[in-house]
Symmetry: C2
């Protein structure tokens, strides 16, 4: 007979995940000890284990929560009538506004995903979701005439994701890196991929071999 509803327990789980997230962002998945997480959450180990069965579960919880948040933000900001304005705002939010902690946590997740299948699946599902949404965005923009219709949507989206990831990686490696300076270049390249005439691209491709 639960004293309070299941919602209470869920809230408490969320609090713990938030505390653990801070620890992981600071120390890394495997350097953050349970004691550290307990201290951050203001809770004894014994009690914490009533909410999560293992450290592994907390790690998976952090990753799932983080990806879900980013996905929700992408889903929320999707619809506007001007594609490039929408996209520029999206890019700014994702590449600049996000905190250094978020960037750090993400490097942690990428490293962890190499040997933790649960994390790998979370990352790949997220990627697939982002890809689907971006392609839908492009198709919609092409339908409205904002961008060319004869572009390679798959290829462009892949490149957009590559660049976005690259900015994150760069932020992670170089604290002095200012994402603000690459934003105009990023938008210029995006315009080129989505507006540039196909003749140019063909010419370039011929000249490349």
């Amino acid at each position: 007979m639960p004293r309070v509803t299941t919602a209470f327990k869920e809230d408490r789980r969320a609090e713990i995940l938030e505390a653990a997230r801070r620890c992981v962002a600071r120390s890394g998945f495997h350097q953050a000890s349970m004691q550290e997480i307990c201290a951050e959450a203001g809770m004894s180990p014994g009690n914490l284990y009533r909410y999560f069965p293992s450290k592994e579960a907390i790690i998976a919880g952090i990753a799932e929560r983080d990806r879900a948040e980013v996905g929700a933000q992408l889903a929320a900001a999707q619809y506007t009538d001007d594609f490039f304005a929408t996209f520029a705002a999206l890019a700014r939010h994702h590449l600049i506004d996000r905190s250094a902690d978020d960037v750090g946590l993400c490097t942690e997740m990428v490293a962890e995903s190499r040997r933790n299948p649960a994390i790998a699946k979370i990352m790949q599902d997220f990627d697939a979701d982002v890809r689907t949404r971006l392609i839908a965005m492009l198709r919609s923009a092409a339908g409205r005439g904002d961008i060319r219709s004869d572009v390679d949507f798959e290829g462009v989206v892949t490149m957009l994701m590559v660049i976005a990831d690259g900015v994150w990686w760069r932020r992670a490696v170089d604290p002095a890196f200012d994402a603000e300076t690459v934003l105009p270049i990023f938008m210029d390249l995006t315009r080129h991929m989505l507006l540039g005439n196909a003749a140019d691209r063909t010419k370039n491709k011929d000249a490349q071999s």
Copy 2:
């Protein structure tokens, strides 16, 4: 009175680093135990500690060695009379030919660099070196007339590094990712940044605000 020269000890250190590198690529910096590294190197712990004072030193050694190798490869492939051919070969080598292990190790180093100042310094020094070399390459190409002279070299190089890092990140996250498909797009964008006329770019920048 050393029985054999110092060179022998240096060789042995290199062997250990190579074994440790394999372990780290497989298990991660902090999941790879000294016992695991000893087994991979075919050596007892007691003996291994005669070549490295601590695990920390091995980690730093791996990072230093890896970055030095990549830097040496970049330095070696620099001079050709056709800029875009040189650059395409460089890109192919760096983005496609490198093994999944190399990619994995790099994610490990990026994650580690967030809280290990020694690793952070190695990564940043490497970045600065690459940046200098690429800018020199561009200036040289501009001098030869292969590319425009009025481009923002700093900005272009930053974007090139962003994209290169992005491809690595993508390879790390998605094992099915085929870097081959983005190479033509990458080269197209590079051409656009280095050959595209400035009027286009100005127009885009105006339209963007």
